[in-house]
């Protein structure tokens, strides 16, 4: 059976062809149309949405706040934040790579081509590339790869070389390798199953990159352990870095102060909003996650 929009709520989101009556908007509430929603492996799915052109302004590290459909006839009360996985300006599409976790993502997993999907965004500050950088090192794990993947798109556009180290439990759940490969990144896979994902080994890989001046900046997401490693090496070798953080969110606009993470700035601990001050932060300032 097909769901329509609940009468209990407003329905003012922009559809693909709608005229935007508030074109000044930085952020939109959009009703995208599901183009596909395929499984990547047992745990992850990949959804492609046709959206209003305003939504295509999203760039790497920014997120959308998703009004997930109900998996079970009881309402899902809060939006769920997701990094934009890919922006396909040619086809007017945005994509998300997501892990099926709880109710919200289970609801997402039910979406079928042609279904509506209400997404708000793009939100927050994403990754930035310094014009002086020639090569960057990207290290991600799990769902963090969804956040890091579009960085290779950004890097390709800016003619920056990318080495992407993808960490995963086993070969079956390695993700986004194809996307990184396509966009010209050098990809390396490290696995728990053969112990190559151990911190010492990853440290060695990063050390090599540093030695070969292939790491003008560090980027990470998805593992506290890997963040700590990059922080340590970055500090030692004076390599700047960026990390994308996660936290439970309500508004996504910086208004509610629900999504706080701790940062250390000039020796002092402060709280910052992941949704608006981030989700991408100076790697050295992040205290943990």
């Amino acid at each position: 059976m097909a769901l329509v929009t609940s009468n209990n709520y407003t329905n003012s989101a922009l559809r693909t062809g709608d005229v935007d009556t508030y074109p000044e908007r930085k952020v939109g509430e959009f009703i995208g149309t599901v183009v596909s929603n395929a499984s990547v492996n047992d745990e992850y799915k990949h959804v492609v949405l046709k959206v209003h052109p305003q939504a295509l302004k999203a760039y790497a590290g920014q997120m959308f706040h998703l009004l997930c459909p109900s998996p079970d006839g009881a309402e899902v009360w809060m939006r769920r934040p997701m990094s934009v996985y890919r922006v396909d300006r040619t086809n007017g599409q945005i994509e998300f790579l997501y892990k099926i976790e709880g109710r919200g993502t289970r609801g997402m997993a039910l979406l079928e081509p042609g279904d509506d999907f209400n997404v708000a965004g793009p939100l927050g500050h994403g990754f930035t590339l310094d014009p002086s950088w020639k090569n960057i090192a990207v290290l991600g794990r799990g769902v963090g790869l969804a956040t890091l993947a579009p960085l290779s798109q950004l890097a390709a556009e800016n003619k920056v070389g990318v080495t992407a180290i993808l960490s995963a439990r086993n070969p079956g759940v390695v993700m986004s390798k194809k996307l990184f490969d396509e966009l010209g990144a050098r990809t390396m896979v490290v696995l728990d199953s053969d112990n190559s994902s151990a911190v010492e080994n990853v440290e060695k890989i990063l050390g090599d990159l540093i030695a070969r001046r292939q790491a003008d900046a560090f980027f990470t997401c998805g593992s506290n352990r890997l963040l700590k490693l990059m922080q340590r090496l970055g500090k030692k070798h004076a390599i700047p870095g960026q990390v994308a953080m996660e936290q439970i969110m309500v508004c996504g606009f910086g208004a509610c102060y629900v999504c706080m993470r701790t940062f250390e700035v000039d020796g002092q601990k402060v709280l910052r909003r992941v949704c608006r001050d981030g989700p991408v932060f100076n790697m050295q300032e992040a205290v943990g996650w």
Binding site: N7, Y9, S12, A74, W77, C251, F253, Y257
Partner: protein
């Protein structure tokens, strides 16, 4: 076309839709045109810079969320110097919500906030996770009277008072606030609540208790608005579970002059503007010329009281 404007004391709002304190900031201009709103309502500010409560600050419940933010902020100085000017870029009146642990400081804060760009002081005397003699004065008639009297003496700005749905007798508290000089009552703040996780036996929120926010609560708050409206002369702003234009109508029928909206704006960031448009259309379809006609217009005078008659007609 319907005239959507309403008056709250001396302030005219272009329409009865405003955000609820804490669920809004000027940053929402990214997604909606703030100049369309009836008023702008800032998050509750305290004197000192505050970190707020330990995370997690929100947890989803069966039908809504509980949240406990803990009034974080950069303190009143930063607020007046940097945040008020952000709001001042927009046309609707600015309502500044304020809270303090002591009555004296509450009054002093209200005075310090009475700067030209601030149009209304909203005394948030109902923060559910503060205690009843420190910040959550709205649980008691006497504390409410003393607190509002003190604030009233220190500011000439319109003074709105946000009441608590956790109080047992909201009518008496409302009357105490009115008697002490409130210009308007905002009904209501959130319901003190608890969620315990059954996976690890721990409270779901870092602060243990939180305020419940859910459209499910609208009938309770609506009842409070209705009861209070029959007993006070000052206007009321209904806050709780408004998610669509009919909810605005329902609150106005019960006696509210305007509504505040929190949750709906989280669910649909463009909701507030859409609700204004929908309310306009709703009135136009019914030939309602002024939205103020709806205030207190509930038809409750001739209800059938004989069950034997009632049960022989209609569904």
């Amino acid at each position: 076309m319907v005239d959507l404007s309403v008056k709250i004391g001396d302030i005219t709002l272009q329409n009865p839709i405003q955000p609820a304190s804490g669920a809004f900031s000027w940053e929402y201009n990214d997604v909606i045109d703030l100049n369309r709103l009836g008023a702008l309502v800032a998050k509750t500010i305290c004197r000192e810079p505050r970190l707020g409560n330990p995370t997690p600050r929100m947890a989803e419940t069966e039908a809504g969320i509980i949240q406990s933010i803990g009034l974080p902020g950069k303190g009143i100085e930063y607020f007046v110097d940097h945040i008020v000017p952000e709001y001042a870029k927009f046309k609707p009146p600015l309502v500044v919500s304020v809270n303090s642990e002591t009555i004296e400081d509450f009054a002093a804060l209200a005075e310090e906030l009475s700067v030209p760009d601030v149009d209304v002081i909203e005394a948030n005397i109902s923060c559910p996770t503060r205690n009843q003699t420190g910040g959550n004065f709205a649980m008691h008639e006497d504390y409410t009277r003393d607190c509002i009297t003190a604030i009233r003496a220190k500011t000439k700005k319109p003074l709105w008072v946000k009441l608590s749905p956790n109080a047992g007798d909201i009518v008496s508290i409302a009357r105490a606030a009115e008697a002490a000089g409130a210009d308007c009552l905002v009904i209501a703040n959130t319901f003190l609540s608890l969620k315990i996780r059954t996976d690890n036996f721990r409270p779901a929120l870092g602060n243990k208790f939180g305020g419940l926010v859910s459209p499910a609560l609208k009938p309770i708050v609506l009842r409070m608005v209705y009861q209070v409206a029959k007993q006070v002369k000052i206007p009321i702003i209904g806050v709780g579970g408004v998610t669509k234009a009919e909810d605005v109508v329902e609150y106005m029928l019960a006696g509210a002059s305007a509504v505040g909206i929190g949750y709906a704006g989280f669910r649909n960031p463009t909701a507030l503007v859409q609700i204004i448009d929908d309310l306009e259309a709703w009135c136009d379809e019914r030939g309602i010329k002024k939205v103020t006609e709806l205030i207190g217009a509930v038809k409750d005078a001739d209800m059938e009281s004989d069950p034997l008659v009632a049960a022989s007609v209609g569904v």
